[in-house]
């Protein structure tokens, strides 16, 4: 059954756990294994952390809205913020052979999801769409 779930949380890192708790049953119910589910959730956690760090520059009083849609064979997760827009071509993972803190979040997103698409064409904020097909 296709179904859409929407979750809005304040842009404070303590709500990352709430995001993970909400996603877990949805991802399992979509038919992904526990191992796939934990990777999907990790990647969404990273996307949400990046919104707090970069789009809201650490302001914890804004809102992150996630929309999760499950269809036969795929899960799509849309993350919406109303923060600072950047040139999306500059958002890039670091090379994994430089061992340093940081630069892993976007790498995880790219590894886990089939589609990672940033949209800044609305007047304000960014919409990030993450899609994973069931193999």
């Amino acid at each position: 059954m296709p179904g859409t779930v929407t979750l809005s949380v304040p842009s404070h890192p303590k709500y990352l756990y709430v995001i993970r708790s909400t996603l877990y049953p949805l991802v399992l119910d979509a038919g992904f294994s526990k191992k796939e589910a934990s990777k999907i959730i990790l990647a969404v956690d990273e996307a949400s952390s990046n919104i707090i760090k970069y789009a809201y520059e650490g302001d914890h009083t804004k809102t992150i809205t996630l929309t999760v849609t499950v269809d036969a064979g795929r899960i799509a997760i849309r993350l919406e913020d109303s923060g600072k827009q950047v040139d999306v071509s500059t958002i890039a993972p670091r090379k994994l052979d430089e061992v340093r803190p940081g630069g892993l979040g976007t790498h995880f997103m790219g590894t886990v999801f089939d589609t990672v698409e940033y949209d800044t064409t609305r007047g304000t904020g960014t919409v990030l769409t993450l899609v994973k097909e069931k193999k």
């Binding site: 993970r20 934990s38 990777k39 952390s49 760090k53 979040g105 995880f108």
Partner: protein, 115 residues
């Protein structure tokens, strides 16, 4: 969701145990726990063991914290050994291709005795 951090003095150094979720919310606490241990060990210590068996979740901020710990250890000539990675930690290490970067042991006794 909180992370519990406990540390104890062991023969050659310190053993830190982490329990719970290590994410952007709790990584600062882990970083604080590490700083405390480096402070306690100011006079010099040989090894730092971090037990990750009770970590239910770790994201890139947790990994960044471990890499920082490694850098602090390198600077002070302390040997860093990670102990008993839980399955979620193993998954994120695999995704980050970090398994080769750290010295990882299945148990504290092996981590303590292997040369």
């Amino acid at each position: 969701m909180k992370v519990d951090i406990s540390s104890e003095k062991v023969g050659s150094g310190f053993l830190i145990r982490l329990k719970g979720d290590v994410d952007m919310n709790t990584s600062p606490d882990v970083r604080g726990g590490l700083a405390d241990v480096f402070k306690q060990g100011e006079a010099g210590f040989k090894a730092l063991f971090i037990d990750l068996s009770q970590v239910r979740y770790m994201d890139s901020s947790g990994i960044a914290t471990l890499i920082e710990a490694m850098q602090m250890c390198v600077k002070r000539g302390v040997r860093l050994r990670l102990v008993d990675l839980s399955p979620p930690v193993r998954d994120v290490f695999e995704l980050a291709r970090l398994a080769a970067v750290f010295e990882i042991f299945p148990s504290f006794s092996e981590a303590e005795t292997k040369p």
